[in-house]
């Protein structure tokens, strides 16, 4: 079951690569939240109930509901155009993300350690690198945040791999999640939208040497 969910997660990454509209990104994020909820639920069923509740709450409330709504709000409030404005054509993005997945898959084959199930490793690493790729190739600042959230999801999956033995790490992951998203989005909603009218990356390239 976990494997199925994780594979669906990976497919969502592929979909992410060809998404044009920001709204699609947000929907995919929400969808990923739901998948993570499922994975966490199955994987962490043995840990203590309070902790489990926290994890599940985070995935379902924060990742699937709060953040997507918040993003939507920001886009509306700052009148950001709907297009994701990639530097590269979507086709290439698709190829790159596919490549990322293939490479991580091949890479994980070389791991000899058996204590960790490899699927977590593959999926999370693909998610992390896809997130980084999205950050690097999209023009808007808001897409950076979106990319970052994808990375977060990847990290969350990775933390689930040791979740039963070290639930603390999962909690930390959640903390990171909340902290970073709230903070980044907070700055966004408060300041960047006010100060910079057109929220393009080029606006933030003044500080350089």
């Amino acid at each position: 079951m976990i494997n199925v969910l994780l594979i669906i997660f990976t497919i969502s990454l592929l979909y992410l690569s060809i998404a044009d509209r920001l709204l699609t990104y947000i929907k995919i994020l929400a969808f990923q939240g739901i998948i993570l909820f499922g994975v966490a639920f199955i994987e962490l069923i043995q840990i203590n109930p309070v902790n489990l509740a926290l994890v599940l709450l985070e995935t379902i409330v924060f990742k699937t509901i709060f953040v997507p709504l918040f993003l939507n709000y920001i886009i509306k409030r700052n009148k950001i155009t709907r297009d994701s404005e990639p530097f590269l054509p979507n086709f290439i993005s698709l190829i790159v993300i596919t490549l990322i997945i293939i490479i991580t898959f091949l890479l994980s084959n070389s791991i000899v350690d058996s204590s960790i199930s490899k699927i977590y490793f593959i999926v999370s690493l693909s998610a992390i690198f896809s997130g980084l790729y999205i950050i690097a190739t999209r023009k808007k600042i808001i897409t950076h945040v979106l990319g970052y959230l994808v990375i977060e999801n990847g990290v969350f999956i990775l933390s689930l791999a040791v979740g039963t033995e070290m639930p603390l790490l999962v909690d930390l992951g959640i903390l990171l999640d909340i902290f970073a998203s709230v903070f980044l989005l907070g700055i966004f909603v408060n300041k960047i939208g006010d100060v910079l009218k057109d929220v393009d990356v080029d606006q933030l390239k003044k500080l350089k040497d």
Binding site: D113, H144, Y148, V162, M166, L172, L176, L204, L207, D209
Partner: protein, 475 residues
Amino acid sequence: MIGIYLPGAFIIGGLLLVNRNKMLSNLLVLAFLVLQWIFTVYEYRHINITEFNYFKLDALALLLLITLSIIAIPAMYHSHIYLTTKKDTPRNSAIYYAATVILLTTLSAAYLSNHIAVTWIFIEMTTLSASALIYHRRNNRSLEGTWKYVFVCAISITFVFIGILFLSFSLQHRGGGGLTFDALLTNAATINIFWSRLAFIFIFTGLTAKLSLVPMYTAGIDAKDKAPSPAGALFASVLMNVGFVGFFRIYIVFANTSLHSWTNHVILIAALLSIFVATVYMVKVKNIKRMLAYSSIEHMGLIMLGIAAGGIGYYAAILHLILHSFIKSSIFFQVGQVYRVYKSKSIYDVGNYFKYNLTGAIVMLLCFIWVTAMPPSGLFISELMIFRALFQSHYIIVMVLVMFFLTMIIWAFGKNIFKLLFAPPVGFDDSNVVKINPVESISQFIFLGLIVYLGINPPVEFVTLIQETIKNLPK
């Protein structure tokens, strides 16, 4: 004691945030400093005792905590001057003070924490408070700086987290206490090489954002540039140290595994690239604060070289770290005065500082001498030892390269500093130059003296503490 300190400091921070009364905020800041010092002294008396499972004050933490407590006083003093001369709104001042207090508190906690995850949490929190300081001026550029800092730090903190996860993979027994540094050290021999290799590279890369090293040094530059000078002083000293703490504790673990020489190579490459980048930009930049920020990169590179070289280099690295904190903070304090005189940080707008602020100019001159590690600066001693360590570990080419880069840096640094000090400024109206009270430079003089003292004639306790810090490293 940390149980009292942390809540206390956070309460003071919270009060500062809501308080709008000038008098009261001064008192609160004072109260914080007193608390900080009581905490420091208490911890000094109770070394190597674990508190709340996750906090343990070892020698490194003690050294850096004392450094922080010492720097905190002039930092607050100069912040006070900065805010009063700028006539900031009470709200902004409140945020500034609160952020500074929180920053210092989280830094202290991060130094003390004995668990990698706890360290991680506090490092994350420093990003938070630091960003409030960077955004203090509330203009486009500072917003940009803040955004970049937060974003890059967020990514890097994620890297660290990934590294921690990998580290947990590598453990044989994944118990609750498995990730304390002590436990890691005792289990170092049984660690899984594949995962720990990944862990190290991710943790190291993540921490370079705080450490100001290649590859993630970039945002730190903007932060030090855009933050007000007293805050810049904290960024360039104690905030960098927190990165070092995180790095060094994990390095001790890896030094006791079979990955030791590999980690040394990684560090060496990062250090060399850092010094190179610092050189490239020191030659180029015309903004004094950015130049200083690059100089921090250079010094961190040197410290890492010391670590990578090993032997006497360990001692030198710790010494260099502490001395660098003092010198960099005092030079940043001084830049604050420069900014008040010229209303600019650009090297094109400043000049003849000697005429407008004699004491400040002398401090600046001495700072230049100290920071470029010319005798009688204590940094000279640490650099000498680093070079000696490089020599002894047969990194002679590295040594020659570094010496070459350092020469270029001195040239570039000197060119700008002497432009500031001696060359007449272009288009500067000196009819109503702000007079700066020489008293404001006392802290810098004290720091300069301290650097010489610690460098040339270190007290026995200081040496023992450093020896204690590095005792777990292989010889």
